[in-house]
């Protein structure tokens, strides 16, 4: 399986919504 590791998740807000079955990436909101 491919894996998105934590190095590539840096400086990016990762938003999990298990209820809605979706995952968001928000660049620029981790300042």
């Amino acid at each position: 399986v491919g894996i998105i590791g934590n190095t590539q998740q840096q400086k990016l807000e990762v938003i999990y919504d298990v209820g809605q079955n979706k995952l968001g990436f928000a660049p620029g909101s981790c300042a």
Binding site: G5, N6, T7, V14, I15, D17, L23, F25, A26
Partner: protein, 430 residues
């Protein structure tokens, strides 16, 4: 890189590639702001912002990645192999057989060696705050507990003592929670004295925790409290946990923190990981009143091979603004998960080869360097004050792009050995 548009490259100061030596953010442990969502500080377990930093025998001027990068990457590979093992049907059968034979499988779970981010959470009444590894790739939350019947490793915080809490209770066998421990750990729970439910969890690097499954109050902040949270109270714990008190399991299984707090937080949480080992990030629970304007969502997929993992549909990769010629079926056949505990992203070999080729072409003006463990695309940047690196984006279903920040493109041991921070799986089917 000279052939690429300015918008398609990162210009990086080479001095920023090596770890900072001091904590650059506030190290306050708990954010407890009125009218805001419950939020925890995230710090790197071995970083300069961690209270555990000095005690792990490291000098304040060095980070873990600086100390032994080969060992660090080896642990990362162990975690990946354990994830692959867990996801393969063949291994699930083998695990079942092994469990029946009361022998613990060697690679039954996730390796924790590189699950390096910790948050501080309060256990019991009154709450005792302690640092736990935060991990979206596993489910069961556990901490070390007194009286440490068999063994407790050294941890930074005082070991939790159930007798000092007024809200602690053991879970007995033949309960729903006890039976749920099987899917959360991969190992059938057993029944101890006074019908106490005994869980066992073993990770890919053979780290393990065994103890009582209990109900206890969990405090995210002093005002955000979860009553009767089910977790493991470890009486025999060994392995690569550093000085952390235990683990916060953020997977999707029924016993995970996310599932147990579903009514309270709606299965919503978000995080910003610290971009260096010397800064802090945050882990926040619940729906955001106002989502960041830049957010784009992609569907999360449930995969029967590993229903507790967060699967996504990765469909393409761009390097320097150019989409790589990779058939979408390469990604679709294996699937892709997002994991807070794996350090280096892994790609199907076909996809990685294409990425490597495009990246090397863009970096052809820089001398190459010898490979570093799983990282085989390395450069010697000695003598350069600035370098131009092609931007890399991962494209997901729904037109969502993860534009990898410049800090997430390279893994450096020294300025003479700076490597592309992606690695290949052995086989496209992995």
């Amino acid at each position: 890189a000279g052939e690429l548009n300015h918008d398609d490259v990162h210009v990086i100061k080479t001095s920023s590639l090596l770890p900072a030596t001091t904590c650059s953010s506030s190290t306050s442990t708990i954010k407890d702001l009125k009218n805001k969502q419950p939020s925890l500080n995230i710090v790197h377990r071995h970083g300069t912002c961690s209270s555990m930093f000095v005690h792990e025998g490291q000098k304040k001027t060095k980070s873990s990645t600086e100390l032994d990068p080969k060992e660090f990457l080896k642990h990362d590979q162990m975690r990946v192999e354990a994830l692959h093992f867990k996801l393969s049907k063949k291994s699930a059968n083998a695990q079942e057989q092994s469990t029946k034979a009361t022998a613990l499988p060697v690679q039954s779970g996730s390796s924790l060696g590189t699950a390096n981010y910790v948050v501080r959470v309060g256990f019991g009444t009154p709450a005792k705050y302690m640092s736990v590894i935060f991990d979206t790739g596993s489910d069961l939350t556990w901490i070390q507990c007194k009286p440490c019947v068999r063994f407790c490793y050294l941890q930074q915080d005082a070991i939790f003592n159930p007798s000092e809490s007024t809200s602690y209770s053991n879970i007995i066998c033949n309960t729903t929670e006890c039976s749920q421990a099987k899917s959360a750990t991969g190992i059938s729970p057993s029944c101890g004295n006074s019908s106490s439910c005994i869980y066992g969890i073993q990770y890919g690097d053979q780290s393990f925790s065994v103890g009582y499954l209990v109900r206890e109050t969990l405090s995210i902040t002093s005002t955000d409290v979860i009553n009767e949270f089910t977790f493991g109270c470890g009486q025999n714990n060994r392995g690569l946990f550093g000085l952390a008190a235990g683990l916060l399991g953020l997977g999707r299984d029924k016993l995970s923190f996310v599932s147990q707090t579903y009514k309270k937080y709606g299965g919503r949480f978000s995080y910003c990981l610290p971009s260096t080992s010397s800064s802090t990030g945050h882990l926040t629970f619940g729906a955001q009143k106002r989502l960041p304007s830049s957010v784009k969502f992609t569907p999360m997929v449930k995969d029967s091979r590993g229903p507790s993992f967060y699967f996504l549909n990765l469909i393409a990769i761009t390097v320097g603004g150019q989409k790589l010629a990779i058939s979408p079926s390469v990604f679709a056949s294996s699937g892709t998960i997002i994991d807070s505990g794996t350090v280096i992203s892994r790609l199907p070999r076909t996809a990685y080869t294409s990425l490597q080729s495009a990246f090397q072409k863009s970096m052809s003006s820089y001398p190459s360097a010898k490979p570093l463990s799983i990282l085989d695309t390395c450069f010697n940047l000695a003598g350069y004050k600035e370098v131009r690196i092609p931007k890399i984006s991962l494209l997901f279903k729904g037109g969502v792009a993860l534009d990898v920040d410049s800090s997430g493109l390279l893994f450096a041991t020294s300025i003479q050995q700076v490597c592309l921070a992606f690695a290949a799986n052995q086989d496209d089917k992995d």
